[in-house]
């Protein structure tokens, strides 16, 4: 059971953001505790990615506040997010296709030699180490990531988040491109990271997966938060009903 008595790792309060006329996120509040996985559910275009992009620094919210460890923070860009140990695996897998796995893993945080030059050999060695753990079958260390399969690309993105010892991890549909075996590996990884005390936001369309991996599930529709529920207190049908009808289940509504 997750201990929710202390200060939350992340608290997003009353976040709103619009694109042109569209309210992509409309007064959404959500929090995350250490060692907790919070699932974000909702139909396509519900605003899930947009909400977490405010936390990862890709977007700046129009209104609302973000607290990390109880302190109000201002996240203007991805660098600010990293400074707060927030790592993100984007739905679109933000990788530079022309660079190899190691260069992508360390992009923006290269290892350097004492003279300040990038140390490719050291970065490749570290990359091999982490892949030993995440994806032992991976061999294409010298190839640009454009030559990798969808799942291999995903493991590069995941490796990046894990390597830099995030405290807060955002995973936007991390298993969308994965086969069953790789999906299981990511699930195990999530559980391991959870044990290490990370807080994870997991966006996923698979309600079974959310029920299995998450402690709580937040459901969004048309930019609004329908509700946050304890996954143990709802069935997958309840979750589906929330996504489709946009209402909390009867037995929790009160």
């Amino acid at each position: 059971m997750v201990d929710r008595s202390g200060t939350p790792l992340v608290e997003m309060k009353d976040i709103s953001i619009s694109f042109g006329g569209i309210r992509a996120v409309d007064h959404v509040s959500i929090d995350l505790y250490p060692g907790e996985v919070v699932g974000l559910l909702g139909h396509n275009g519900a605003g899930k990615s947009t909400l977490i992009k405010c936390l990862s620094g890709a977007y700046r919210q129009d209104a609302g506040e973000i607290f990390v460890n109880g302190e109000k923070v201002s996240i203007e860009n991805p660098r600010d997010a990293r400074d707060h140990n927030i790592e993100t695996i984007y739905q679109t897998l933000a990788l530079a296709d022309n660079l190899d796995a190691a260069s992508n893993l360390f992009l923006g945080r290269e290892l350097t030699t004492p003279l300040g030059f990038v140390d490719d050999a050291a970065m490749e060695a570290e990359t091999r180490k982490i892949f030993q753990r995440l994806n032992p079958n991976f061999r294409k260390f010298a190839a640009p990531v454009s030559a990798l399969s969808g799942g291999q690309r995903q493991s590069v993105a995941i490796a990046r988040a894990v390597y830099f010892q995030a405290k807060i991890l955002i995973m936007d549909e991390p298993t969308a491109a994965l086969g069953p075996q790789e999906t299981r590996m990511v699930a195990e990884l999530i559980q391991e990271l959870k044990r290490q005390g990370l807080g994870i936001f997991l966006i996923d369309h698979d309600v079974h997966q959310v029920k299995e991996l998450c402690d709580r599930a937040a459901v969004m529709k048309n930019g609004e938060l329908i509700g946050v529920v304890d996954v143990d207190q709802v069935s997958t049908d309840d979750l589906l009903a929330m996504i489709i009808a946009g209402k909390k289940p009867e037995h929790l509504a009160a």
Partner: protein
């Protein structure tokens, strides 16, 4: 049967090159260059591949090649710079005016030793500031590079005109003109020393790369492949020095030199020109730019941004500032190219650098820089510049009419891109 043997032969050759880890596209370019040279050599009854012509070809290539290395960065980040020829003119005008009007006006003699360094500094600063300014408009204000530099093409050409009131400015300072080519060379001994240093440096680079791989327990090439590479590098470097050393200074010039120093020239005395200082400058630029591209964060970010601008941004790279830096580098290189171009003429002319934007972009593209961004090499761009210049000089030597020369150059540019697209499709490189 014939087919089968041909294909095994091919696969063996392939694995041979793979063992050497040589870039097949580089080999292709070298092959194209060799074909051009041999063809013109046959058409000119051997006049194309003489030390004299190779020397001239080299010094004619320097200015465009210097700018082409910067254009690689510009195109890799998915931009373009159409203003390089004009910016070269503005920098050249600034340097010419500084050394002939402004500094003499402040009481310095035209040939005082302080003139050349100050003039060069003025030129480099001009290039950096103008480049950074254009980069700012592109990166921070969001005007496409195509438009900003198309405007710049007109603006800087005419700023140069305004600065010099359209006049030819010269003669230039003696030290300054040393960087023009034939007016400043290292001599035979100096060139051999340079060649040996270059061979040692190449050997050191190969060895240290191998050590780094062994230290991290990565697979390495077989020793024979390393030695073969080292041998090829040594032969190329020393061969190049030998050719430039074989181009003799005319005895008339030598006699004058002896006369000036108050002695008479010994009978049968000869001396080769050796490596021009302008080529030394190009080599320095090439080394620095290659190190920037491969070994620095700046270079890594340039390629990452070209590969996927969004990914670069999300990885915390300040892509706007990066744009400013890339265009500032381009500006500095335009200034250095302007230095070499005006020093070669020994004056600044109003039309200096005209149409260079075309040559520079062509050199980068022929050298394998992908217009879709994210891909390109410094050595490729220099080789591209050399191929362009060989075509142009070769056609002039054969006596092809001027309009046809330009038609061929334009067609070659398009053809090179087409070949590149087909090559990338075949090899599966995006």
């Amino acid at each position: 049967m014939a087919d089968a043997s041909a294909s095994t032969g091919q696969s063996q050759r392939k694995s041979f090159f793979q063992t050497l880890e040589l870039d097949t596209r580089l080999l292709g370019m070298i092959g194209a260059f060799a074909v051009v040279c041999i063809m013109f050599n046959l058409l000119t009854d051997g006049r194309f591949l003489t030390p004299r012509n190779i020397f001239n070809l080299t010094i004619q290539t320097v200015s465009v090649a210097i700018m082409a290395t910067g254009m690689v960065f510009v195109i890799v980040t998915r931009h373009i710079d159409l203003s390089v020829g004009s910016l070269l003119a503005t920098c050249s005008a600034m340097m010419a005016m500084a050394q002939t009007q402004v500094l003499p006006g402040m009481g310095f003699e035209l040939n005082s030793p302080i003139i050349a360094p100050i003039a060069i500094l003025v030129g480099v600063l001009t290039g950096a500031i103008v480049g950074a300014f254009q980069g700012y408009i592109i990166g921070y204000l969001g005007v496409p590079a195509f438009i900003v530099t198309l405007g710049g093409l007109l603006v800087w050409r005419n700023v140069a005109w305004y600065l010099t009131t359209g006049q030819t400015i010269g003669p230039l300072n003696d030290t300054f003109t040393l960087l023009g080519g034939i007016s400043g060379t290292m001599g035979e001994l100096g060139s051999w020393i340079l060649g040996v240093i270059a061979v040692v440096a190449a050997g050191f680079a190969i060895v240290s790369a191998r050590r780094a791989r062994i230290r991290h327990e990565f697979p390495v090439k077989p020793m024979w492949a390393e030695f073969a590479l080292m041998l090829v590098a040594a032969v190329l470097i020393l061969g190049f020095v030998w050719i430039l050393n074989s181009y003799d200074v005319p005895s008339r010039v030598l006699a004058q030199r002896f006369e000036a120093s108050g002695t008479t020239m010994p009978e049968g005395y000869t001396e080769g020109y050796g490596v021009p200082y302008s080529v030394l400058l190009l080599i320095a630029v090439a080394v620095v730019m290659t190190i920037v591209a491969r070994r620095t964060r700046l270079g890594r970010y340039i390629f990452a941004t070209g590969g996927n601008p969004d990914a670069a941004e999300l990885s915390g790279i300040n892509t706007r500032l990066l744009t400013v830096k890339v265009f500032a580098i381009m500006g500095v290189l335009c200034a250095l190219a302007g230095l070499v171009a005006s020093a070669r003429l020994s004056f600044h002319s109003n039309d200096i650098g005209t149409l260079d934007e075309l040559r520079v972009i062509a050199a980068a593209v022929i050298g394998g820089t992908a217009l879709s961004g994210g891909m390109g090499t410094i050595y490729g761009a220099i080789l591209g510049a050399l191929i362009m210049q060989s075509l142009q000089s070769g056609m002039a030597m054969v006596g092809v009419d001027a309009p046809f020369q330009n038609i061929v150059v334009g067609a070659v540019l398009v053809l090179a891109v087409l070949v590149d697209i087909i090559y990338r499709k075949r090899t599966g490189a995006a």
